[in-house]
Symmetry: C2
Subunit: 370 residues, 2 copies
DNA sequence: TTGTAGGCGTTATCAG
DNA sequence: CTGATAACGCCTACAA
């Protein structure tokens, strides 16, 4: 007499010899039910009797059967995959972004198909793959052109941009208010008496750095302070040192404060100031960054910086995308978060809320800065 | 008279109204060829006349047609996807690993399905997804149990472990020789006259830290030095400071050198020694790490450490996996890389190749240390 | 609750 | 080189 275990083993051997996979049909045959019954057992909330369910599951386990996602997505037209397009830089500087997005997407029953970009030019290649793989939606932490955005539109592919803003584009985004962040930093530094600023910006393709820089400049102008010296940077450690020297060269003297477009540049700036130029920070020079990356909090730096709520932003991006996927509604939405001020030890600051210097324009001073 | 462009536009509208995708059949109809002809045009190296090819491609472009990967993988039994399983920690400390692996996999015509692990317990969940999605192979930078490994075997799923070794398991791995790295560091420090060592290890589940630690201890014993004080760590900044204090407490004095299981811990140790305990590093205490992460090279640290050739290892992992996938050969292989010594400024060292102290056991001294 | 039958969109085979 | 036809493994009305 042959038990179901024995017959399962024999069937498995046969299947292996035929170089094919275990299918729902195999399970059905062995369990003595129809193929659709098996299918229903693997669909949550389907109508199956408890007896059938248990029998099918037992046989499935015996055969190591697992439904084939490709076949499923063919008929459901849902791959349950989301593409995540991210630049190398973004992952280097916010490694937690990836983990958070991935966790959030998985928590919503979808998988992440990952594409990392080394160069801007790889975008076209990556998008071709995205269309092929029939992902349900895309989260992009990379610069897309309006032409690319239009293609998403045309194909009806839900898209969420992470920390990228596109002027005049109707598209879902999750961002921090980087303009406000730049203004805030300028306000706080100006309130503490800094007058001459240097700014080390980010790359040309980064809307984030541009916004931060614009916010700071705007605010300094409002306060009637002398125009800051602005030099470009590439977001890396070396840019910080090079940027500081360039600022000093252009100014002919050491500025009161340097605002850097990212923490890594701020740290480069800081190390250069202290170890290479022998400057006292914050005594002679204040240095501030953006992002609050892990090293900014280390004892050797203790950087004055602004933190983005990356985990919350990642969750929002996942949320927003899944909403768009499930609702089939092409409407767009922008979710904007505020930064958190990190009062480190690399800038001379007066306590938040202290009276800032009267603004040159004579405007009433803002009620609250933070 | 209706041009092909007009008819394409009309067909697209029809397809959209039917809520279905553009298929190769649509292209075939519009181009006046068979569906198989269209299929062949998208298969590199297939036998198609130039005329047909160009006609089909033109029509395909007009319709925005792109082959459906799910349907293809159903029949070819190849998804051209590779799962990458990585712990959050690994991505935090080696963010370049992800980018490199991803690039290498893409360069080989495959995509990366990403799974990040927050906890060990998520492995089972992740593996279930891996089977569902019919990936062609898996690269794992996470700890898998022998039971998991056996399941890969059973399902004939190619697997490459990244920087994890499994005793008595027949499995493909790409690793650094961490035992050798630990020995090397101990040798160099001992050669420079350090006698009493402290070691801050890694978590229990990390074979990497264990090997490094074992190598160092082994070598110190061979050299007849007093047994080092070993304390556990969790790979993070705080563990470095806590570890240093624990070592000092256990020893009753400051050791000559502390070997840390990772750079981040070494940096924590360094900051604690300098800023909290007021110790002169390397004057009173030498500190060394492992991994040569980016901050280890910053001016404030300039850490003595060992670098793993991460890009080469990533390429090797991708290579090895693709080989296993394409060859259908279940044979396994282990690729082992050597670390590179980074002679920073946090340890007193004599130049490489200088005569080390005679070993206590009287064995002939090794020909070359590096 | 269960089984039957058709189709998702592609590639592979084979005859012409 | 080209076209007809049969899979691939599953989901889903629909009928029983």
């Amino acid at each position: 007499m042959s038990t179901v275990e024995h017959r399962a083993a024999a069937l498995k051997a046969l299947i292996a010899s035929e170089h094919r996979r275990v299918t729902s049909y195999d399970v059905a045959t062995l369990a003595g039910v129809s193929q659709s019954a098996v299918s229903r057992c693997f669909k949550p909330g389907a109508s199956v009797s408890k007896t059938t369910y248990e029998l099918v599951m037992k046989v499935a386990a015996l055969l190591d059967y697992i439904p084939n996602a490709a076949a499923r997505s063919l008929i459901t037209r849902r791959s349950n995959m989301v593409a995540l397009i991210i630049t190398n830089q973004a992952n280097l500087y916010y490694p937690e972004l990836l983990a958070e997005v991935s966790q959030q997407i998985n928590a919503r029953g979808k998988r992440v198909l990952l594409f990392t970009l080394q160069r801007e030019s790889q975008v076209d290649h990556v998008l071709a793959d995205v269309w092929q793989y029939q992902v349900d939606g895309v989260i992009a932490a990379a610069q897309l052109s309006p032409v690319h955005i239009a293609e998403f539109e045309r194909r009806g592919m839900p898209l969420v941009l992470f920390n990228r803003t596109m002027r005049d584009q109707i598209v879902n985004t999750v961002t921090c208010d980087h303009l406000e962040a730049g203004r805030l930093l300028a306000s706080r530094l100006a309130a503490a008496g800094h007058r001459q600023f240097g700014i080390i910006g980010g790359g040309r393709d980064s809307s984030v750095a541009t916004e931060r820089q614009r916010g700071a400049c705007e605010r300094l102008a409002e306060l009637g302070l002398p125009p800051p010296v602005v030099v470009p940077g590439q977001y890396d450690y070396r840019s910080g040192a090079a940027g500081l020297k360039a600022v000093i060269a252009q100014l002919g003297t050491v500025p009161d404060a340097v605002i850097c477009g990212s923490d890594v540049m701020a740290i480069g700036c800081l190390d250069c100031a202290r170890h290479e130029l022998g400057l006292d920070v914050p005594g002679q020079l204040s240095v501030a960054g953006f992002d609050a990356v892990e090293p900014s909090n280390w004892a050797s730096y203790n950087l004055t910086t602004l933190r983005q709520p990356v985990p919350r932003m990642a969750a929002a991006a996942a949320d927003l995308l899944c909403e768009r996927i499930d609702s089939h509604d092409p409407g767009t939405e922008k979710r904007v978060f505020s930064v958190e001020f990190i009062d480190g030890a690399t800038a001379r600051l007066t306590p938040a809320g202290a009276t800032p210097p009267r603004v040159a324009t004579g405007l009433p001073r803002p009620v609250a800065i933070m």
